[in-house]
Each structure stands twice: as C-alpha cells, then as structure tokens.
C-alpha cells in the first residue's frame, strides 16, 4: 500500500492501514455508522439497568425512609423515559429550587418560568430557605464529597416538604421543581447512591437529625426528581394556547444539557414523536409545539464547553469548544436563528463566549435563550422586565426583530421603569414578597389563600 505524500495525522499509530474502500462501500459504511451513532441505542446498550425507585419503595416499606410523593393534588402527568419506564411530573403546587447561576447571571431565566406559571395560574413558592446544590463547585474543584452532596440534597428537599407550614398548609403541599441541570443530575445521582448505601444513609441521617430535618425520625426521599424543562414539556400545549407571536419562520437549534440527560440517563424523557425518539424530548418538544422549525446539527450531542472548572480558570478551552463545536456548526450548518438550551452553565457558556471569537476571525452572533425565556417571549412577556434579555451578551435583539418585537420601544419602557424604581416608586413583582421568608429573621407568619 502506498502512503500518500504530505502530512497526514491519523492518531492510530504506525500499524494503521487505509481501508481502501470504494466510494460506494465507503458510503454504505458511513450510512451504517450514521444509523447507530448519536442515536438512542447508544445509551441503551447496557447489560445491567435498574430502576432505583424499586429500592426506594422497598426501603419505605421496611420503615427506613419516608417518600415525598407526587400526589393527586399535584395533578401529575405521566411521561415515558429512556427505557419506556414511567415518570410522574407534577403540574402544580411547586417549590422552586433555584439555580445560583441563573439567578446570579441570567435572572430572566427563572423570572420567565415564574411568569409562565402566573399566566397558567399555577401555585408555587419561591423562598429564601434554599442553598445552592453545591455541585458546580464539586465538579469544578473536587471540594466536597458524596456525604456533603447527599446532605445538601436531603436538606433542601426536606425544606420543600415542610415549607408550606409557614402558610398554614400541610407538609408535602409543595413539590420541588429543580431549575438547574447540574442540580438535577447531581440530585438524581445522589438519590441513587443514598438508596444503594446503608452507610451513606446512616451518616447523612445523623447530620439531618442535627439539623432537625428528619420526618418521623427518617430520611425524606423524593419520589421523583423533576427538572423544570420536564414541567414545561408536559404543559407545552397549555403554553401554546397563550402564544401570541408566530415563530414559524424561525430556525431553532437545541442544545440538550449533559447533566440533564447523560447523568442518570434512564430518567430522561423520550418521546417517539419527537425526533423519532432519538433525542431527549424536553425543549425540542416545546419549541416544536411553539411552531419554530427545529433544525438538527451534527454536534448536538457535544457538551457546551462549560467544564465547571474551565469556565473559571481555563476559558480558552471553554470558548474554543463553545465556538468551534457548537455555535459555528449551528450557524454554518443549520443556518440557525437561535439556539435554545435548558441549563444554566450551557446558556452562560454559549451566550457569553461568542464576542471573543472576533479575535480569531470567528465573529458569530447567535442568539442564545433558555426554553422558558423563548416560550415567555412568544407568549407576550416583556423582553426586559420579564425575559431580562439585557443580561444576554449574544444578539437577542436580532431574534426579537425576526419575531416582530419592537425591542427598542420595550427597552425604552424598561429604562423608564428603572428611573421609577430609582426614585423610590413601586416595583413590579411576580408574587407577594411576604411569601419568600418562611422562618427565621423577617418571618411574618402570614396565611395565604391557596388554590383548591
């Protein structure tokens, strides 16, 4: 065999030989690979798969734990996950487990979600008694351990369970809805380890006992760990009923978040009617329901480049990966008008790391939004007061132009609103601020009318 002249780097070592396939054979081989690669079967090729909820029910039966149920009062909807198992998603009475990255950096992300809930008359609680999940820090630095992650999980979910008592309502009234993909993946993984390890349960029980956060002397485990994108998914038809802006001309790409569907993949929602069931269904289902054209692209499976540690201290990796593997492909291959995501780190990474590309002759400008922000926008939410698009570095304005939104006028309204607040005028809030403190300093102990 003749080795072609010139540089050729294959990375396979000296023993590598060209397959010498004919063009037809190469085409057949490529098509075979394309049928397999990046498809659902890549995730289901395991010998051993277990549903940890079976262990959970057994442990409750044995009196070891208490399960926080998704009850009829939460009006759940059943969905299918990777292996066709059922997952119960609550639709109402939701406790917002906020994301530090969203709240600190992309505040229109949670604000849009709460706005949608207000539009749909969904009861919820957003309160101050919640910590970060601490998983960003853990995956980035290694500071932390399985016990600390588990104790934080149990603590926050216990608070969700008891939070309604501050309003004179029963325990379990609100069900936790996790905003951040990192928290979601981490909590699912931690729940699995708690169910598998008696030693971990014993150690965390001591800590939770010290905090006064046991239920009848037992650990409280949630029946389901639910991500907000799953709630959006099951409620998408009700959202489209409120849509007032046509999105059918838009070409949208979806970035599925790694910690949403690659961590504990058996718990991710799949739907045969959405991209033939080959992709996680959340976000894609919503954006299709809103009428936009969801365009496939070859690097959909790649991560965003966030890296947890890299976004802070090795940003050359983060921005190179974000631009070369995601934004560039979405713009050049999919000719996308927008990229939609459903996680904190991804939105931050993809949104903020485009400007620097100009330095390398890669001046892409692809609007980046979370699914709930896009949904709120086409349902008529204010682009600045609610969607808070001014925190996005990417060109959300070009997206709004394409949607026919007069963003200059809306921006002027918002700037006038800022002056009003600066002068001591009233603030617009999505809920009664008295609800947000449920104990400790500042707690007023108010009783609030709730929905039947």
């Amino acid at each position: 065999m003749t080795i072609p002249t010139g540089e050729r780097f294959t990375g396979h070592g000296a023993e590598w030989r060209d397959s010498s396939l004919s063009p037809a054979e190469a085409d057949t081989a490529t098509r075979w690979v394309e049928q397999k690669i990046d498809k659902r079967s890549m995730l289901t090729n395991k010998d051993r798969v277990e549903d940890v909820r079976d262990i959970m029910w057994q442990l409750e039966k044995e009196g070891e734990i208490v399960v926080h149920r998704v009850s009829d009062e939460h009006e759940p909807v059943m969905v299918k996950t990777l292996y066709g198992w059922e997952k119960k998603i609550p639709t109402k009475r939701l406790w917002h487990h906020k994301s530090c990255g969203q709240c600190g950096n992309i505040p229109g992300y949670p604000a849009s979600l709460l706005w949608l809930m207000n539009e749909l008359n969904i009861e919820y609680l957003d309160e101050t008694d919640q910590t970060s999940c601490t998983a960003w820090n853990y995956h980035g630095s290694g500071i932390g351990n399985i016990e600390s992650l588990a104790a934080v999980f149990l603590r926050n979910f216990h608070q969700a369970y008891v939070s309604a008592k501050a309003q004179g309502l029963p325990e379990g009234y609100y069900y936790p809805l996790v905003h951040c993909g990192t928290s979601f993946g981490n909590y699912k993984e931690v729940r699995s380890y708690l169910l598998h390890s008696a030693k971990l349960r014993e150690r965390t029980k001591q800590i939770l006992g010290k905090l006064g956060r046991l239920v009848d002397g037992k650990l409280l485990i949630p029946e389901e760990v639910v991500h907000y994108s799953e709630w959006l998914h099951i409620i998408r038809d009700r959202i489209t009923e409120r849509q007032i802006i046509d999105a059918s001309e838009l070409r949208a790409t979806i970035h599925p978040a790694c910690h949403v569907y690659k961590m504990v993949p058996e718990d991710a929602i799949y739907d045969d009617d959405i991209l033939e069931g080959n992709r996680v269904a959340v976000s894609t289902g919503l954006i299709e329901a809103l009428g936009a054209q969801v365009i496939d692209y070859k690097t959909w499976y790649d991560c965003c480049g966030f890296g947890f540690r890299h976004i802070i201290s090795e940003r050359e990796f983060t921005r190179s990966f974000a631009i070369d593997r995601k934004v560039k492909i979405a713009v050049e291959e999919a000719n996308a008008d927008v990229m939609i995501g459903h996680d904190t780190g991804c939105i931050t990474t993809l949104d903020k790391n485009q400007w620097i590309g100009k330095a390398a002759g890669k001046g892409y400008d692809l609007p980046i939004l979370a699914d709930c922000q896009f949904a709120a926008l086409v349902c008529g939410a204010h682009p600045y007061k609610i969607v808070q698009s001014h925190w996005h570095a990417s060109s959300t304005e070009t997206l709004m132009d394409k949607l026919g939104i007069d963003w200059q006028a809306k921006k002027a309204e918002f700037e006038a609103y800022l002056k009003q607040i600066e002068a001591g005028g009233p603030q617009d809030n999505l809920y009664d601020p008295r609800k947000m403190v449920t104990s400790g300093p500042g707690f007023k102990g108010i009783r609030i009318e709730h929905q039947a």
Binding site: C100, E127, T131, A151, R155, K199, Q206, K262, K385, P441
Partner: protein, 249 residues
C-alpha cells in the same frame, strides 16, 4: 533523579535508569486505597475492553493530552505510578460532562472516577490541586459563607473581560438592575438570591460534619481562616436570634 532538572515524568514516577522512585511505594498505595475506599468506586468501574468510545466522544480529549480510556485503564490495572502521574495534571482536564459514562458499554463512569481522584488529590494536599483550585477561591468563599456558589457581584467586566462589553446591555448600577428583577428573592447583589440566615448556618454545619472544611484547610489555609471567621459571626447572629425569639415566647 529528581529536582528542578528532572523531567515531569522523572519527578512523578521515577527514573527508570536509576530506579529511584521519588514517591515511596507506601504513599502511592495509600492514595490508591483512598480512591478505592469510596463506595462509588465499584459502582463506577466494572471492567474495560479498551474500546475507546469514551475518548472518542470526550470534549476534553479534543484539546488536552487527556483520555478517559487511559484513566480507566490505569485504575483497572492498578497502575499506581500512572495514577499518581495522572493526578498531577490530566484529571483536571476533564469537563465533567459524563458523555463517557452515558456511552460506556460496561457502565463505567470515567467522569465519576475522576471525581474520586480529584478528591484524593485534595485530601493528600497535592500541589496540582492547590494550583488548579487557586482561581476557585472566590467561588469557595461565596459558597461556604453564603450558601450561594455564584453572585451578581462576581459577574463583572473586570473578571470576564473576554465576555465583551455586554455583561449588561443596559447601563445602570447593578443594585438598580437587580431591583428591577420581578422576583423579590433576587433583588440582591452579593448573593444570587436572598439566603435565610438559618439556611447558611445549616449548610456550614453540613460542611463541618462531612469533612469539607478539612479539605479546604488542606488546600488553602488562609481562605479557611477567613471563612471560619465569617461563619462564627453568622452562628452568633443565629444564636442571638434564637435567644430573642425564646425570650419573646
């Protein structure tokens, strides 16, 4: 041969000519024993046929001298010198996306195994861990003292010059922009949301009870001192609140 004239390999895994190992065998064994002792180890390492699907799909492998397949092989074959060497630099390249774990036919989690190695690097006070974590001190300070990992006052053009001029497209003071967010919990600048005093005291109790503060002290003693001072004050505030509440009853 070790010291400033030695190569990286010679420094970490010894010199094959002189056969002098710079690290005593007992130390390498202790580090590996710590990695193996975590109950997640057996869950995340089930075998390896060197198929390389993990490396083929790994984002970090595109840009670094890093391969999750290599990490799994080092652990599977109990290559103590190789494990120690990988802990100096390679394990910090992983982007923690878990694509490797989702795809491994054996059900291994190379990303998860790397977390066990990172924890061990911290426990043993490895210089690599100290260097890598130095830029993380702002996050650690914020997280341990408030309960929030990230706050609006950390996202400034000074800290993220490469993000360009649009950290906010509306030119107004940060506090005012935050007041204009229609979620009352978010009208803050020093934390991502307003955190109940009880909440941050509870999180600190978790840090103490699970050995996280010990990890921090090993890596950055100064940061540990600052955080314990802040949290001692918060605990006093909480105790005072409880006393006042008790007196009011």
């Amino acid at each position: 041969m070790t010291g400033i004239n030695a190569t990286r390999v010679q420094n970490y895994i010894g010199d094959p000519i002189s056969a002098e190992a710079p690290r005593p065998r007992a130390e390498l064994e202790e580090i590996f024993a710590d990695i193996q002792a975590d109950f997640r180890y057996d869950h995340e390492l089930n075998g390896c046929l060197n198929c390389g699907i993990c490396t083929a799909t790994c984002p970090a492998a595109h840009y670094y001298d890093f391969s999750p397949r290599e990490i799994v092989q080092l652990l599977w074959t109990e290559n103590l010198e190789g494990i120690y060497d990988a802990m100096q630099e390679k394990i910090w390249a992983c982007a923690q996306c878990y694509t490797c774990a989702a795809r491994c036919p054996f059900g291994n989690s190379p990303g998860g195994l790397i977390m066990l190695m990172r924890e061990a690097a911290i426990k043993h006070g490895m210089e690599s861990a100290k260097n890598v974590l130095r830029p993380f001190s702002r996050v650690m300070l914020k997280l341990i003292s408030t309960g929030n990992q990230l706050a609006p006052d950390m996202i400034t053009a000074d800290h993220f010059a490469d993000w360009g001029p649009n950290v906010s497209k509306i030119d107004a003071p940060l506090a005012l922009l935050r007041k204009a967010i229609p979620m009352p919990t978010l009208n803050t600048t020093k934390t991502a949301w307003e955190v109940n005093l009880k909440t941050s005291v509870e999180l600190y109790t978790i840090w103490e009870a699970t050995g996280v503060l010990d990890q921090l002290e090993t890596i950055d003693e100064n940061l540990f001192d600052v955080i314990t001072d802040i949290m001692d004050e918060k605990r006093e505030d909480w105790e005072e609140f409880l006393e006042e509440e008790h007196e009011g009853d």
